[in-house]
């Protein structure tokens, strides 16, 4: 009787041991994954939550409160005027992006398809401009813009942002175009299509993933651009990231208002990024590893 019980027990014990050995690392793994997710997303969640808090609740860590939309109404009121900064940011992004894409697609096509003397040097030179700290460029810009009356204008911001986005766009789009077989175009040119026509109706659709990747990347860069806007604007042309400092008053920071403005501020980039996430991650990683 006894021996029978033992016989039954022993295999079970062994099984237990194996499963503990298996389960323990997997628990550890899951805890680590949880910690990473908390580290990355608690700050974002907290901004979001704070944006619905009434003022009295801001200075507590409670997550149970009567949510209110007052903060959102407050930031659009005349005392803060989020609408103005939102439209400044939108103008800067849209204009910069359109110019960037047009000139970068043309340049990438040329660099990808033709033999150009010193191509390697050109490509490296374009990239090297981004190694250099951009604060160097801001010093002469500040002086030039002051003389030209471009300080505190969206046009000024568009000009400086172009120097920042075109290099990235050329690198990303050229990388994609290099992978499109040239035979497709040759066929079209035998059929008598003009060069610009080939770029427009054959190459552009094929290079779409690259162009989308470049657009989203540049969009995020311009939308979040802080240093140029901090130095080159002060009232009229202020964009969203710089406008956040207006919530810092003499009596401290109005965190619930800043959180509401911040939530509306990050919404477009996060949404766009999620929409094209797959292409973006593929484009960025294959581009940088290649």
């Amino acid at each position: 009787m006894n021996s029978q019980v033992n016989l039954e027990k022993q295999p079970k014990k062994a099984e237990n041991r194996i499963s503990i050995r298996k389960i323990f690392p997997s628990i550890l793994e899951n805890i680590s994954v949880l910690l990473i997710v908390l580290f990355l997303f608690v700050p974002l969640f907290w901004i979001f939550l704070t944006s619905f808090k009434p003022y009295e609740e801001v200075f507590t860590t409670s997550i149970f409160f009567q949510p209110t939309l007052e903060n959102y109404l407050a930031v659009f009121s005349s005392s803060f005027d989020l609408g103005k900064y939102y439209s400044n940011s939108t103008i800067v992004v849209v204009v910069t992006l359109i110019i960037t894409l047009v000139v970068s697609v043309l340049a990438s096509y040329s660099l990808s398809r033709f033999e150009i003397p010193g191509k390697q040097v050109i490509m490296f030179g374009i990239l090297a401009t981004q190694f250099i700290p951009l604060i160097i460029n801001v010093i002469p810009y500040f002086v030039m813009f002051r003389n030209l009356g471009l300080l505190d204008t969206t046009l000024g911001l568009i000009i400086v942002n172009l120097g920042h986005t075109i290099p990235y766009a050329i690198w990303l789009i050229k990388g994609f175009m290099d992978r499109i077989p040239i035979a497709i175009e040759e066929q079209a040119s035998i059929d008598g299509a003009s060069r610009l026509r080939i770029i427009w109706s054959i190459l552009l659709p094929l290079a779409k993933p690259g162009i989308i990747t470049a657009s989203v990347f540049c969009f995020v860069i311009i939308w979040n651009e802080f240093m140029f806007a901090l130095i080159l604007t002060n009232r009229e042309a202020v964009t969203l990231p710089v406008a956040l400092q207006f919530f810092i008053g003499e009596e401290g920071v109005i965190w619930n208002h800043m959180a509401a403005a911040g939530t509306l501020f990050v919404l477009p980039t996060v949404v766009f990024m999620l929409l094209v996430r797959k292409q973006f991650v593929q484009g960025m990683t294959s581009g940088s590893i290649k």
Binding site: F59, I99, T129, P140, Y141, M144, F280
Partner: protein, 292 residues
């Protein structure tokens, strides 16, 4: 003939824009760096002083302090980002449903404004009502009285954490895509041969990741040396000058004290440092390629 001109014609718009928006300011900035120019006193550029602005950096104790802060900040940020990103890569690169969801949202922090993140960490580290301050105090009671942003060491720790927060998701995605692209047979073979998971990691995974680690290190170093937004919004370079890294010091010299000549010279010193670092890494990368 037409073709020959056409290819240059396509390059011209981008080239003109880059020349005007990047190359010209770079040259002009270098020219400014060779002159004395205090914008508070004169609207026009002052006398030519040659390399004096560069020389005065080396006798400026603030510059040396700044350089020390830059070294600590960049070193710890790069090491923490790379180590954490490899770890995140290993944890998230398995084929599981909930992990694939986390991989999908991992890109979100990359899209969020670093300036806003600086502010929100300042909010969360507030000693009276900050969420992180209270969480840290709860789990590690010894740290509950620390006022994070008002001591030199802890302010640097906070700043590094914020910058790691900003870069880590993107760098992790690089490692994830590298790890998921690795041939499975190698790992199965290692398992059959009885290799422990530590052995597999150090003997197989890490060597195979080496080129990505180098590229990620180059990128992170460049981003960190250029970091600006979180410093302005989180610490303002303080307390004292403890988190005043070179990029921020250039901004202060140029646009709070309006010493443009000196500021431009400091800018070129930072550019020089960045170039040296990138070239050193690049040479290792090229060398590694030849070995393979």
């Amino acid at each position: 003939m037409k073709n020959r001109l056409f290819k240059y014609f396509l390059l011209i718009p981008a080239f003109i824009l880059l020349a005007l928006t990047t190359f010209y300011p770079l040259v002009r900035s270098f020219w400014i760096s060779l002159h004395e120019w205090d914008l508070k006193e004169t609207a026009e550029m002052g006398p030519f002083v040659g390399i004096n602005n560069y020389l005065s950096a080396f006798s400026d104790y603030q510059f040396w302090n700044t350089l020390k802060a830059t070294l600590i900040f960049t070193g710890s940020t790069v090491i923490a980002t790379i180590v954490l990103s490899i770890l995140v890569g290993l944890l998230l690169s398995k084929e599981k449903k909930h992990l694939s969801f986390i991989r999908a949202i991992l890109i979100i922090p990359f899209a969020v404004s670093p300036a806003l993140i600086g502010y929100s960490w300042r909010f969360m580290l507030n000693p009276d009502y900050g969420l992180f301050d209270q969480i840290i105090g709860f789990f590690i009671p010894a740290l509950s009285d620390v006022i994070w942003l008002s001591h030199e060491g802890t302010a640097m720790v906070a700043l590094v954490s914020v910058v790691v927060w900003i870069f880590m998701p993107f760098i992790s995605l690089m490692f994830i895509s590298a790890l998921m692209g690795m041939p499975k047979e190698v790992f199965e073979a290692a398992k059959v041969d009885g290799a422990s998971s530590f052995q597999t990691f150090f003997r197989i995974t890490l060597p195979m990741l080496q080129p990505i680690i180098l590229i990620a290190t180059i990128l992170t170093t460049m981003f960190t040396l250029k970091a600006f937004d979180p410093i302005v919004t989180l610490t303002q370079g303080g307390p004292g000058a403890s988190t005043s890294v070179l990029n921020f010091f250039i901004y202060k010299t140029g646009f709070q004290f309006f010493n443009l000549g000196y500021s431009a010279a400091l800018g070129y010193i930072l550019a020089g440092i960045t170039m040296v670092v990138v070239i050193v890494y690049m040479r290792r990368l090229v060398k590694g390629d030849q070995w393979n």
